[in-house]
């Protein structure tokens, strides 16, 4: 091997080792299971300025679209640091590791808003799935469940599936067959937030198939809604994003 070629190989491996998110379409989780990397996208505020992790209010539902223009995600600064390296399982039994929240307090998390049960999702006209802050009550957390009257859960109001955002949206109750897909975030030294990929089984394919008429109405068509987000993802509060927030 020529010296120049050798240096190219070493350099390439080094880049990959430093920033794994730079490899698109490759695996990212500890063992590479159920991870898809997409364009690295910076989260911005409504004016297009970089969104700073320290500027997020705790326990407020924020929304950004990623990895597709029409797939909404929830961003939450949780009240406490999340658990680390949570073992999760997909509907078909594949296990994967959710590494935990980002930010100085390791409390910032993001999940795809598409409920894997019947594809309920955050959309512009009304929203049945959202994060319920600490102390909030939901019918999804029945008296026998540890989350009863405690909040700090994500609830899908359609059929009352409950997810634990501290543990990678693990299912706590209800008919959901698997966790929400996680959006893998990076927190940089300048306090900016970046989305780099999706961990866990996503429901994008089924979503685009099922909501064609809605996507036409809200994004001008399925093709436009399917476009991958590039460079920036505008992040707003759920109250700004949707006309009606419905919780049970």
């Amino acid at each position: 091997m020529q010296r120049r070629d050798f240096l190219k190989v070493v350099g390439g491996v080094g880049v990959v080792a430093i920033a794994p998110s730079m490899i698109e379409g490759r695996l990212y989780a500890d063992d590479g299971t159920l991870y898809t990397s997409y364009k690295k996208v910076q989260l911005t505020d409504a004016e297009g300025k970089p969104l700073l992790a320290s500027a997020l209010s705790k326990e407020i539902n924020y929304v950004f679209n990623y990895p597709h223009a029409g797939t909404s995600c929830m961003l939450i600064a949780l009240p406490h640091a999340t658990q680390k390296s949570v073992r999760l399982k997909s509907e078909d039994g594949v296990e994967y590791i959710w590494k935990g929240g980002v930010g100085k307090e390791r409390n910032i998390v993001a999940f795809s808003s598409i409920c894997p049960h019947q594809l309920t999702h955050i959309n512009k006209s009304d929203t049945f799935i959202s994060y319920l802050k600490t102390g909030g009550k939901t019918m999804g957390c029945t008296k026998t469940m540890p989350c009863h009257d405690k909040g700090n859960v994500i609830v899908c109001g359609s059929h009352l599936s409950v997810y634990d955002p501290q543990k990678g949206a693990k299912v706590l109750g209800g008919p959901a067959p698997q966790p929400l897909a996680s959006i893998v975030l990076e927190h940089h030294d300048d306090d900016t937030l970046w989305a780099v990929g999706v961990l866990g089984p996503d429901k994008f394919h089924e979503f685009f198939r099922a909501f064609k008429p809605e996507l036409k109405e809200q994004y001008g068509g399925k093709r436009k809604a399917k476009k991958l987000v590039k460079d920036k993802a505008q992040t707003v509060t759920l109250a700004e994003f949707t006309k009606d927030i419905i919780r049970y």
Binding site: D126, S158, H159, P213, D244, I246, Y248
Partner: protein, 140 residues
């Protein structure tokens, strides 16, 4: 005397309101039966690729579901499920949306999309029935 008259008027008004609610429920039952027939028609016509039969079924479905999208869902839901009015109304709106899209798909000869719309209509029906009706049955 005035008090007696107002009591009588109040009684008549409240009785007519109860009657209206009961009427709405019977109308709902009738609409539901019509919708079931319409859905059966879409499916049967679909098996034979009878486009006009499918369209006719979709139109019947849309006519029957009209009352669900315009009426306050709390008036027809079981008392213990009345809180879920927005959920029920959303399902009705989604059915209308897929029905509209199905007509477009059929007009464009896009049978795959039409079948997808049909399966989504069924999904909305079962979504609502699994939540609202199952709970109502559990209490019986």
């Amino acid at each position: 005397m005035k008090l007696l008259l107002s009591m009588i008027l109040f009684f008549i008004a409240s009785s007519s309101l109860v009657a209206a609610d009961k009427l709405k429920q019977s109308e709902l039952a009738s609409d539901m039966r019509t919708m079931l027939k319409a859905v059966n028609q879409i499916q049967t016509a679909g098996f034979y690729y009878n486009k006009e039969g499918m369209k006719d079924g979709v139109n019947k479905l849309k006519n029957a579901i009209g009352s669900l999208t315009t009426t306050d869902a709390r008036s027809y839901l079981p008392e213990n499920e009345a809180y879920a009015d927005k959920f029920a109304q959303k399902r009705a709106k989604m059915i209308t949306m897929y029905a509209d899209d199905m007509i477009v798909s059929l007009n464009n000869e896009n049978i795959d999309d039409a079948i997808e719309d049909y399966s989504q209509i069924i999904r909305q029906c079962t979504s609502c029935h699994s939540r609202i009706r199952t709970n109502a049955w559990k209490l019986k």
